[in-house]
């Protein structure tokens, strides 16, 4: 495919790998590099990148999958809304299979709830327009990459004067959780592969405070295999040289200041708030909620529901996996009671979840999947 094959060139990959090998050759310990984006997680598995890297480089996955970091309480709230009469839940596909405390949206759908999978928040606005007798609740989950489109949908709904369109907000922002994990002595992250498209919105400069506070190298990296290899090389060189700075590998898309237009759209509709991250807990200023002029679209406020007590599933290590502290194969449920057909935790549900990626692709010769 045009504009893709050039980032998958085997000869260039070989040269990058050789350079990575040379960069870490004299380094006297192993280094832990964390990717904080579900699409990176998938790319690393899909292209078998771990099987190619020197043993000294340990790639771990962080809290980069939006569905995975969404707390169980949010899923319960979505389920309670789905049970309301004349209510349509509109959501991206992955959310329907995430287990709540006692059931999932998919189960509720089988019992008669109206749950529609959409590919864009604007489809949810159209759904509201076409179903004036129902309330349409869009499940607003995601990072800065998806949130501007949700802001756009809300502005569209306002323009159309829709009275039946709502968003259940659980928007998250970067790089707050990276700072939360950078200070974790148990984890010892040597460097971050920073998300590509989130960074296109927030800009490379957004990572500078993180680097200043924790002296942790950050490289904003694209999603194609050659991007990832070059990002790893840039990080490895910083770690070996004892440097800590923000670098951008994904220059064809990411600017230092980011996408101002998208940022303006976000700040018009949303304001910063504390947010609950599954596995990590509350992180100050790591989420977005609707600001006052748009609060009538907030499903949490407009459609109060009674929630069942939140139950985390016994033995599920999603929280620890999201922090990069354990790998999927370390979880006693992985491949046993937790499978993509019958997931226990969100990391097994989302196509970008670490457990789903490990289950689907494994890593040949890495003691798993093979």
């Amino acid at each position: 495919m045009k504009h893709q094959d050039e980032y998958r060139d085997p000869e260039l990959a070989r040269l990058q790998l050789q350079a990575i090998g040379e960069a870490v050759a004299g380094f006297d310990r192993s280094m832990t590099l964390m990717e904080v984006c579900g699409t990176h997680t998938m790319a690393i598995y899909q292209h078998g990148i771990r099987s190619l890297l020197p043993e000294k480089i340990r790639l771990i996955s962080g809290p980069g999958c939006p569905v995975c970091v969404t707390p169980v309480g949010y899923v319960d709230q979505a389920i309670a809304l789905a049970r309301l009469p004349d209510t349509i839940i509109a959501t991206f596909g992955d959310m329907v299979r995430v287990p709540g405390s006692s059931t999932s949206l998919l189960d509720e759908q089988a019992r008669g709830a109206n749950v529609k999978i959409v590919y864009s928040p604007l489809d949810a606005v159209t759904l509201a327009e076409n179903n004036p007798a129902s309330n349409v609740v869009f499940l607003g989950v995601g990072f800065e990459t998806t949130t501007p489109t949700i802001a756009g949908a809300i502005l569209t709904a306002e323009k159309k004067k829709l009275q039946n369109f709502y968003v259940l907000c659980s928007h998250k922002t970067m790089p707050a959780p990276m700072a939360a994990l950078a200070g974790d002595p148990e984890l010892k992250v040597d460097g971050y592969l920073c998300p590509a498209h989130v960074s296109a919105i927030i800009g490379a400069n957004a990572y500078q405070p993180l680097v200043d506070a924790f002296r942790v190298p950050c490289v904003i990296t694209g999603f194609e295999p050659l991007d990832v290899l070059q990002g790893v090389l840039m990080l490895a060189r910083q770690v070996v040289a004892g440097k800590a700075k923000v670098e951008t590998q994904y220059r064809r898309v990411v600017k230092p200041e980011g996408n101002r237009k998208a940022q303006k759209l976000l700040s018009r509709v949303f304001e910063s708030c504390d947010a609950q991250w599954r596995g990590i807990g509350n992180i100050p200023d790591s989420g977005l909620r609707l600001c006052e002029p748009y609060s009538r679209f907030d499903a949490g406020r407009a459609l109060p529901v009674e929630l069942e007590p939140t139950v985390e599933h016994d033995g599920c290590l999603c929280g620890e996996i999201l922090k990069g502290k354990v790998q999927p194969v370390d979880c006693p449920l992985f491949r046993n009671t937790c499978t993509p057909e019958d997931p226990v935790g969100a990391c097994m549900v989302s196509s970008e979840g670490t457990c789903a990626a490990e289950y689907k692709y494994g890593d040949w010769g890495m003691g798993a999947g093979g």
Binding site: Q4, D9, G48, L226, Y359, W364, G369
Partner: protein, 337 residues
Amino acid sequence: MKSDIILLGHGSGGKLSHELLDDLIVPILSGIGQRDQNDAAVLTHQQGRLAFTTDSYVVDPIFFPGGSIGSLAIHGTINDLAMAAAMPIGISVGLIIEEGLAVSTLRTILEDMSAAAEKSGVRILTGDTKVVPRGKVDKIFINTSGIGVMEHDLDISGRNARVGDKILINGTIGDHGMAVMASREGLALESDIASDSAPLNSLVADLIHGVGSQLHALRDPTRGGVATTLKEIAIQSEVEITLRENSLPVGSTVAAACSILGLDPLFVANEGKLLAFIAPEAAEQALMIMRSHEFGKGAAIIGEVTSTNKGKVRLQTTIGGLRAIEMLAGEQLPRIC
């Protein structure tokens, strides 16, 4: 037919049913009931082993680029027989129709079935029609069963893949699944993706004729895609399969659509593809046979059986990495066939 829509009475077994059969179904699917409309079709005794298969079709939407539920229902059953190395001799058709379906829609579906059967050289021998109230099925569901005859003594089976075998596919992967997906979801793509739905009986006949006992295993990678099918064969034959990513034929629009939707073409359904495990010395000849056939122009060797590491499938990625391939889990696209 007097009515322009299907009524419950058309499935009653009474007068309206006869009208539907006489005016629409039998004239289009001409072999049906061998004209005399007895309760069963009568076949003469066949030489050789027989193969028998059945499948139901519930695809949504019922028309998609490259086919319809009608052509799919014929091709699917022919291909199930062909994968058992049996040449189809007759097919049955069971129609379950939702009350209110436009007669013109049914006519188009029946014409598609008739054309697909004729092109494959297969007769539709018997059938049944039911009509259910509105909302009890979605427009139309079709069941087809088929009988085929094996005019050879070859043992072609998913158990028979051997170390050294080359794995051939007769063209691009993922076309059917993405065609249905794109037309169902109204994806605006640069160009249409057409389903690859096609009858594979004559291609299989050519392979059997050309390479005979060097053809060890055959299977069509339908639901679950190439990945799931190869994993099944690796388990059945107790071997390890290695695929090369850069040899996999994927159309550019399919690759783009998969990329947008986060799908892997290796796991997307095909309806006109077969995977053939061929002894290495006959692989080039089999490739030539495929490429000279109407349904094999894009044929390629995509991998080989590498060892007796039981039930493993691995993919050598374009950049040289290795990853495991498992069966499709979860995320199956519903009602793809």
